[in-house]
Each structure stands twice: as structure tokens, then as C-alpha cells.
Amino acid sequence: MYSFEPTEEQQMLMDAVGKYAANDLRPAAREAEERGELLHKLLSRGWEIGLLQASIPEAYGGFGERSAVTGVLAIEEMAFGDLAGTLAVLTPSLFATPILLAGSEEQKQEYLQKVIEREWSPFTAALIEYAFDFDPNDLKTTAALQGEEYVLNGEKAFVPFAKDAEYILVYANLDGQTQGFIVSKESTGLMVSDEREKLMSLNALPLYRVHLEDVRVPVSQRLGGPEGHDFEPILVSMRVATAAAAVGVANAAFEYSKNYAREREAFGVKIAQKQAIAFMLAEMRTEIEASRLLAWEAAWKLDQGKEDAFTEAYLAAMGAADMAMMVTDRAVQILGGHGYIREHPVEMWMRNGRGFAMFIGLAIV
């Protein structure tokens, strides 16, 4: 059967996330972007909603079960408030969710509780690499087996909170396969850049370059244990999350520019009463809906273990990235000169918008 209604539980969660997005993330977003810093209390408030905790079974200290559909609904709501804040709040998931999905029993026992029993703490993951043709399935960072250890070499980019992270889940190329490795920050050869990454947006999210030079990781710390794991479900979960975040940011830009167009007068009428503007808004709304439904379907297929979840998530992420660029660009256009001024948030959303094509690895459901 088809159905498009969130459950009551999901609705309650969306309401809670929506409130946090509106009351906490959005008001803080501009200053955080300008100062390049998020207030810690914002992170702990977001953490208290318990998105990650609710996706981890009781056996590992959580209180629920993972659902990609729920994740998608929540991430869209949160990203409606602010993207950098959302990615920051959800950073520990980058470490914990892959362990939940693909980790060995020992790894789950060892790490999951560690992440969720405390206050928000910087556990993170490193997937992205600094190359124009970065491909999560063809990493340049390598892992090689030497005796009882894997030796990691390479460089990772855009790693959130790497500086303070106790553990980083590093993805590397092992004989052509992408595999995760749980790397302690104490490891010899692991170097986190002093300088933060400077990007077109996401200034509030501390991102670092991570250099690995002959970093030795015990076989037991390979994600999934000595036998390793399938990377596909992790990548699918990342793509679905990115699509949902793109929908959230696009929807923020749409709503803001729509409200502006209803207030702003030109030639004696509200500009929203001009078809040139009204049609832009109609198309923005239509494309947001299109991407949202694709993301929902991909998430549902992921939850159901459908074979084509991989392709669906790929299409959802690709489509949402294009959509977010189009919608956020138009939001700036509708505000005209005012849209270009940093007083309004639309220019920030437009800078966010361009990023979704390369943010795979910064969020996971």
C-alpha cells in the first residue's frame, strides 16, 4: 500500500525537531556563520532530542530502533532551521550509525554506549577527500594489511570536529573496496590540521583536514571486524540523509522568499502577485515536493532492504542537490538586491545549496 502519513510518533519527533530548528538553530545561524562558531548549548539541546539515541537498540544503551524514514523526516525539519547546526548536532551519528549498521558485536558493545551515554561529544568520521573527482567508492586513501594491523595512508578533507574527536571512523581503499577503520586520536601518524577548512559556507561547523601517515590500526578495529563490511548500506544512508538536508534548506529558502514576496511591493502590488515571481515560487514548491518524495522513497527502500535502495538513494541525492541549487538561487533572486545582503539568510542558503553535490559523508540517517 502507498501511504504518505508519518506515524504519530514520527510526527511528535518532527514537532520537537521543528521547534528546536525554529527556536534555537535559526536564530543563532547568522551569528554562528559570521563568527565561525556554534554555541555548545545549542549542540546539547539538539542532542537532547535524542535522534541518534532513539535509533540504537536498548541492548547498546539506546531506546529504539533505527528507521531511515524517521531520520529523513527529522533531518529535513532540522535543516530547515540551519544546515551547519544540523550537521554539527548529528556529527556523532557519523561514527555511531555505521557501527550500528556494519560493526562487529564487539565494536557495538564497545562504542555505541560510549557515544550515547554522555552529553554531545565529538565522535566523527572521515570520508571526503580533496579531489575534484572525489568518489566514495574509489578512495585515494589506502589501507594495507601488515601482520595483525592495517596501515592507513592518505588525506581526508572536511572532517567535522576532527580536532577534538576521541575517535574518527576513517574510510580507506582496501584492495578496491571502501572500508571503515576506527582510529583513535592517539594513533601515531594521525595528524589533524591546525587550521580549519575554509569553505564557501558551513563556517559554523568546524571542519578539518586529516592526514594519515602509516597509521597502524589493529585488525579488530576494522569496521565489522577482521572480515570487514559492506560499504553500500552506509553510503546509501549518507545519500539519503544528504537529500533530506537539501530538501530542508530548500524549503527554508522557499518559505522565506515566499513570505518576502507577499510583503514586498512594486508597481503598486505585492511582487508575489506578479506571475514572474509567482511562477518561480510554484516551481520551487513543486521541485521541493519532487525531491522530498524521492528521499522518502529511498529511505523506505533502505528500511525495507530493497535491492534498488542503492540506485534510489543515488538518484534522490543527485536530484536533491540540483533542486536545492535551483530553489536557493531563486530565493535570492526573488529578494533581489536584498537577497544579496547578508542581513537576509537566503544568500547563506544559496551557498549551502551549492554544497549538496559534495556533502556526501557529512550526514547519515
Binding site: 500500500m1 502507498y2 501511504s3 504518505f4 502519513e5 508519518p6 506515524t7 514520527q10 524514514v69 575534484f132 573527482d133 572525489f134 568518489d135 567508492n137 515566499k258 514576496a261 507577499r262 508575489a272 502577485q273 506571475q275 509567482a278 511562477f279 515560487l281 510554484a282 516551481e283 514548491r285 513543486t286 515536493e289 519532487a290 525531491s291 518524495l293 524521492l294 522518502w296 522513497e297 523506505w300 527502500k301 525495507q304 542503492f310 540506485t311 534510489e312 543515488y314 538518484l315 543527485m318 536530484g319 540540483d322 553535490a357
Partner: protein
């Protein structure tokens, strides 16, 4: 019920059956009837009619819903979802031939939306009789297209005979010929003609009139020669003192302050918009699948999963088309799911039509481009689908009219505030 994307089993089964129908009865005839415009595909019509009767259906119409399952649990209604899936599957076969499917079509939909219970009984029973029977809707005039409140066809009551006397010129009546002309092989059809009972009243004066096939004073003056969907007849009609019984008027015989007559016409479109969108998705899928077949034959693989930077131009195009097609279909499904569940869906219905109109024109155009000479040649059907698809963005609300509807919905504007 939580969010779910599993197509209901009855729909999946129907899609399988219709795939065969589309291959055997539609695709096999597509080219012939495209090149023999205004020939009627009798064997197809008769086959489809008997097949639909055998299945116990009265053509394509949403069924009564909510039957109990074996466990006694009430099943959610899927009538409109089924309809959308059927239309998509048939239009994957041939959109023009889908329009030649016997049944009440938009004419019956108008009676359904604006008629009294007596009228529904009187006019809608005929579609399940032995002979295939058609009905059509006629609203457009040469001077009134998207702005259909500007129609000039008049209906005047003759007090002595208690009949309506209709005068005017109508164009673009889909299936008008098969609904009106008294072909031996067909049952008695009708056309719902929209006319004004008070030209000073604007849309408040608009009413639909059921004009039975063969009514004296009514003439099919022309069958249009079209870019595509050529097998579907598009009639021009003239009405000269055409007399229609009093009780053939849909809605009130007097002009009231409300606009129920006009709204009746518009309600017909609200219900059918996602269905037209479904037809567009069907053509688009046909074109995209054909392209993928041809590419595979030529050893071109689409490498899903690669970053854009590593894709070839063809791969990017195909992937973009996949995105468009899938999301357009999901928008249709959501709109009809809302209709089935009695949720107000004006916004979703119009968005689905906006999207499908865009998607099916873009996809068919791109497919012809990528296929090059193979796409442009009449040896294959790609060029035909290109021509067929364009109508989706025009009829039953152009892409622009639907953008207006969407915009008014999201902005909370009336027609006056956003013209």
C-alpha cells in the same frame, strides 16, 4: 498507516496485464494509426470494450472502495491509485489509443461531478452495455481556451417546449466524433457541452448540457489534424438551434449568486489532473525505456553511483531523466492517494500536472536528441512519443494555468489577487 511505497498488489497485477495489452493491442498499431489519421481503430476498441466488460468494470472509473479483506480488516481505498496506474500503463502503450478507450471519459466525469443522482443514473449506465460507448466534454471555443469562463455558446430556455436551445461553436472536443456520430458499432454516446445561460453573469452563468449523439442542429464540422495523438479524434462542433431536454442541464437552471456551474467544470479538472499527469508519465517512461534498450544494445552502460564528474554526458542525461520520471510518478501517486483518502488535494493535483507536463516533454525531447537519426526516424516510435507527449503540457490546464493554481494555493491568493 506509516509512510510506505509498496504498490498495492491489485495494482501490480493490473500493471502486468496492461503491459501485455499495451504491447499486443496498442504498440503494434501505433504507427499505422499515426499515419492514417481519422481512421478508427475498431478492433482495438472492440477488444478493449469486451475485455473491460469481462473484468466487470465500467471502463476506467474509480471503483467503490474499502472492501473488507478476509481478516475482516478494512482495506484502505485505492480507486484513484488504480486508475492512475492503469492510465500510466496504457499511455506507455500509446496515449492516442488510450483516448480511444471506450467509456464515459471526461463527459461522464462532468456528469459525475455536477449531476443529480437521477442524471447520473440516466446518463452513466450506458457505458457497460454491449456496444462500446463514448462520451466527451466540450468547453473550449476559438476565443476561450484556458480562460474558459469566456465561452460564448448560449443556452436559452424555450418556455413553450421546456427545452434548452443551444447555439455556438466549439473546438478541441476529444473523442467528439465517437461520442456524437451514430456509428453502427457504437452505443449511443453524448457530449457535455458547456454554455452560458446568462452572458452577463460570467462564470456564474456557465452550465454543462448533456447533448445526446445525433441531436439535430449539432454538427461535427471538422476533425483536427494534429502534431501527435492522431488516432484520437479532436472535433469541432457547431450548434445551431440545437434542442436539448430541460433535465439535461447539469446544475441549477437559474443564475444564482454562487458559481457552482463553473466550479462543477473545474471540479472535473481537479479530479482528472493527476490522471493526465499519469498519462504523461506513461509516455515518458516509454521513451526512456526505449532509450535505455538502444543504449544497452550499443554497449553503453549507465554507471549509477558515480559522482557527476566521472559520468559521461549521456549518463548524466539518463540519470537526470530517471530522477524526473521517478519523482513525477511519486507526485501523481501522492495526489491520487490523497483523493482516495478524501484529503483536499488541489495543490498536489496541480503540482503533479506541472511536473509531469515538464517531465514528459523534456524526456521525450532528450530521448530523440540522444538517439540522433534513430530518434528522428519514423522507423521507431521515439519521434511519435515526442509529438504525443507535448499535449500533456497543454490539455486540461496548460503548464502555466497549473502554475497559477499552485501559486494561488501556496500564496493563499484568490484569482483576483493573482491573475
Amino acid at each position: 498507516m506509516p509512510i510506505e511505497f509498496e504498490p498495492p498488489k491489485p495494482i501490480v497485477q493490473t500493471q502486468l496485464v496492461l503491459k501485455t495489452v499495451a504491447d499486443e493491442m496498442m504498440r503494434s498499431r501505433s504507427r499505422y494509426f499515426d499515419e492514417h489519421e481519422h481512421e478508427i481503430p475498431w478492433d482495438y476498441i472492440e477488444f478493449m470494450h469486451s475485455a473491460m466488460r469481462a473484468m466487470g468494470g465500467n471502463g476506467l472509473a474509480p471503483r467503490e472502495n474499502g472492501k473488507k479483506s478476509e481478516e475482516g480488516e478494512k482495506r484502505p481505498p485505492i480507486g484513484y491509485q488504480m486508475l492512475a496506474a492503469q492510465i500510466e500503463a496504457l499511455c506507455w502503450g500509446d496515449v492516442g489509443m488510450y483516448h480511444c478507450l471506450p467509456g464515459g471519459g471526461l463527459g461522464a466525469a462532468a456528469v459525475f461531478a455536477a449531476g443529480t443522482p437521477e442524471q447520473k443514473e440516466k446518463f452513466l449506465a450506458r457505458f457497460n452495455e454491449e456496444k462500446p460507448t463514448f462520451a466527451a466534454m466540450s468547453i473550449t471555443e476559438a476565443g476561450a481556451g484556458s480562460d474558459n469562463s469566456a465561452i460564448r455558446t448560449r443556452a436559452v430556455m424555450d418556455e413553450t417546449t421546456h427545452e434548452w436551445v443551444l447555439n455556438g461553436e466549439k473546438i478541441f472536443v476529444t473523442g467528439g466524433d465517437k461520442s456524437f456520430t451514430e456509428y453502427e458499432k457504437l452505443g449511443e454516446g453524448f457530449i457535455v457541452v458547456w454554455a452560458t445561460i446568462d452572458p452577463t453573469a460570467g462564470r456564474k452563468g456557465m452550465r454543462g448540457f448533456v447533448v445526446e449523439g445525433g441531436t439535430p442542429g449539432v454538427k461535427i464540422t471538422r476533425l483536427e489534424q494534429k502534431m501527435g495523438i492522431r488516432v484520437s479524434d479532436t472535433a469541432a462542433i457547431s450548434l445551431v438551434d440545437a434542442r436539448v431536454p430541460f433535465d439535461h442541464i447539469l446544475g441549477s437552471a437559474t443564475v444564482e449568486k454562487d458559481t457552482s456551474g463553473f466550479k462543477g467544470a473545474m471540479a472535473t479538472f481537479d479530479a482528472t489532473r493527476p490522471l493526465v499527469a499519469a498519462s504523461g508519465v506513461g509516455v515518458a517512461r516509454a521513451a526512456l525505456e526505449f532509450l535505455k534498450e538502444k543504449l544497452a544494445e550499443n554497449g553503453v552502460q549507465i554507471r549509477y553511483g558515480l559522482p557527476r564528474q566521472k559520468l559521461t554526458s549521456i549518463e548524466r542525461d539518463v540519470i537526470d531523466m530517471d530522477i524526473m520520471l521517478k519523482s513525477a510518478w511519486l507526485m501523481v501517486v501522492k495526489a491520487v492517494w490523497m483523493a482516495d483518502n478524501k484529503k483536499e488535494n488541489v495543490l498536489e493535483a496541480s503540482m503533479s500536472k506541472v511536473k509531469a507536463g515538464d517531465v514528459c516533454t523534456k524526456i521525450t525531447q532528450k530521448v530523440v536528441e540522444i538517439l540522433g537519426p534513430l530518434g528522428y526516424s519514423r522507423e521507431f516510435l521515439a519521434e511519435k512519443w515526442f509529438r504525443d507527449a507535448k499535449i500533456t503540457d497543454i490539455y486540461e490546464g496548460t503548464g502555466q494555468i497549473n502554475r497559477l493554481v499552485v501559486a494561488r494555493q501556496i500564496l493563499g491568493y484568490s484569482g483576483k489577487e493573482l491573475r
